[in-house]
Amino acid sequence: MFKKIGFRLIFVVAITSLIIIGVSAYFSVQSQSKELISEVERHANQLSETVVASTRFDMTLNQRDRIQQIIKSIGTQKHIRDVRILNKVGEIIYSSDSSNINKMVDKNAESCFVCHAADQPLEHLSMTERTRIFKVHPDSNRVLGIITPIYNEKSCWQADCHAHDADQKVLGVLDVSISLSEVDKSILNSEWKILFFAIFAIVGVGLVIAFFIRRWVSNPVHDLLHATQQVSQGNLNYAIKEMSDDEIGKLAFSFNNMTKKLSEARLQLFQSDKMASLGRLAAGVAHEINNPLTGVLTYSSFLLKRTKDNPEFQEDLKVIVRETIRSREIVKSLLDFARQSVPKKIEADINEIIIKAISVIDNQLNINKVKIEKQIDNNLPKITVDSNQMEQVFINLFVNACDAIGKVGGTITVSTQKISLTPFGTAQIKKATCRKRHSLIDNDYKIDGMPALKVKVVSEGKEGIIHLDPVYGKHRNNFDIGFTIGKNAKYVCPDCNNSLIQENKTCPKCGAPILAFEISGEGIYEVCSSENSNWERWESVDSAGLREFIEIKVKDTGSGINNEDLPKIFDPFFSTKGQKGNGLGLAVIWGIIDNHNGTITVNSDLGKGTTFTIRIPFIQQR
């Protein structure tokens, strides 16, 4: 907890305000209590003066009972603990507490000590010297005592009683002690008040600071931290969405900028690397194929020359020569590709490509009485494609549709439109690895034509492979392994047996362990390991937001495809046309669309027709 900036800041601010409030509270309590005590002192002094003045007359008349009466009645007043008059030798002569009368007070007692500390008793005292604060018992209330010397005066020694000599200076003292319990109570009260205020202020300041730190610092920093973690996991598409206009906002902005640049650079590096190795491969293959082709071409063209007078041979040999020259052109284009080391993708208008493809097979369509209906969106943006390859795709699809329609005639409907899709339900996982970089893509097991993710399950001594849907969000997983998966089952990479379970994390829906797959360059794909939960998450594509596609649909009114055949139609060498086709047409289409990071799906109603749906993303990433 102390490792959080917010907490540290709050702590420091709280300590500082504690010190400031504490010091100011101390001084204010001090001055307040001083004020109160001096007020009490003044009051006590006034009282003492009043007592002395009011008893004076009775003193001179030596009316002891009356004096005692006055003292006693004064002593009954609230707060006044004790009023007594001591004579010169320390004997209590009058007291509000009658039981103390005639008792002797030691000269060292706290009421006498001020004057009698020295050998010769003092005669005059200042106000502060006359007052004292003491406690009768250690745990009783404080008491303020004030002594007022009663000085000898002419009326005293001339009185009838002749109790005092003329040469005496001090005749006795009046000692009034006043309880400070009220004062102490009010001091304590204000101390409590200040304490409460201090606590309230500290908590208040802390909360306010916590709120703003959370808003201005913690949350943005947390977002940044999360973003850096995403990037370190390889998700360079992650962008921080909400940005303030302060320094952290600027940091987030430049962070986004940086990851974007990094992502572009990596894409380029990846692309050029891929192209370079493809180029080397193509060049090697071309060289190897060209030598045997030379044999075929030279011998066949040689024979063609030698058999000029034999028209029967000529025809056949011409075919061989022509086809060999065609192969030569293919190899040459392979080499051209190797030389350029970049795909021939250019900005192109899909509609134009479709129209061109239609014009190529126009004749065949007319012969088969096939009409083409175009439902074209004329506002499609241009996208980067290899237009020759894309043309091949449409030619192949139209020819297939034509074949499916047969001799009876029918309609092919081509439609194009722009669509936006969320990654959830559309994004396909094409590369997934375990932590040791073993591929977890199973090319032998396909879900809706796409290679599935494979995971080995080891449970109670049995093991098997489960297959997960490679399309994010579709969740057409196959857990059919012939045994029930126990609670403590292990989910591992089939190659290295390393666990695929995400540690310290469970499915938020059902609490089962979560499987994590590293997707090359696109973060981590997480999915619940339970068959019954459909929880999955691929943060990196989620954070990239909506993706825009061009969707092309080719719909025919032909014979349709069997449900059994449907999953196989994109497999190489699978053909329903018997001898007529080589079964590569749709596989080639698949390859081309895949190369454009697009998808092709098929829907078919037997006897009614088939629809192929192609989606090509605007932005050719990966």
């Binding site: 082709l293 030379t294 071409l297 063209s301 063609l304 030389r339």
Partner: protein, 268 residues
Amino acid sequence: MKKHTDILVIDDEQVIVDAVVKICALDNYTVDVALNTKTGLEKIANNHYPIIISDIMMPDGDGFEILEAVKSKKEDSAVIMATGFSTVENAVNSLYKGAVSFIPKPFTVDELLSTVYRVNNFQKIVEKQKVLIQQQKNDEILFVACPTKYLRLGYSTWMFQEREGTVLVGMCDIYMKTIDSIQQIELLNHEEEIAQGIACASFICANDRNHRILAPLSGRIVEVNETIKNDPNLIEKDPYFDGWIYRIIPANYDYEIKYLIPCSSDRL
């Protein structure tokens, strides 16, 4: 006792060697063979062959070694480079290093025979010139050398950069002297791209001989000489000026002229 052989073919593939022998026999050439660089070099050292057809990539060496060996000999041989690894660099580079022609594999009988025919004629002209020089008949001209400011790709095509930055492309006279008169000419169109070392036109001559012309420079064609379409013989008559073929905007001028030979070097 040296028996005369017209052609030496060096290639590590038996089938290709055999095919070349058979094809050349059609035009009555005698052919000797070598199945690797080593025997090839030995044979070149011991005999004289007017024409040598060599593969570029062989297990024990490359065709450029053969080219070096031929150049260091006193007697002239014309070398045709043939390779299945027909990258532009190989083609252009072998022409730059002195090969008279380049033939990409796989080739047809006609392509090989056309090339050999051309190179054989080339060889004859070179020898004739030698004789003339020996006889000090310097004023008799067998072919017109290309103008000094021109650059040429081997002995086939030239290019000349005009003031505006555009480049003219045409045929060297010596090439025209090695072929029969053009019967038909196939050209690319305006706005098409040409690439250095890749065929950009073909001349169809007598006996179905089809001569493919390699572009000296890459670029985009901005103008095709319309007059030569109607009158291909203009190329033979005035190959360096009125007989130009294309006007192009070069794509990679500075890089590509490294492989071209300045015509000024012919006049030393």
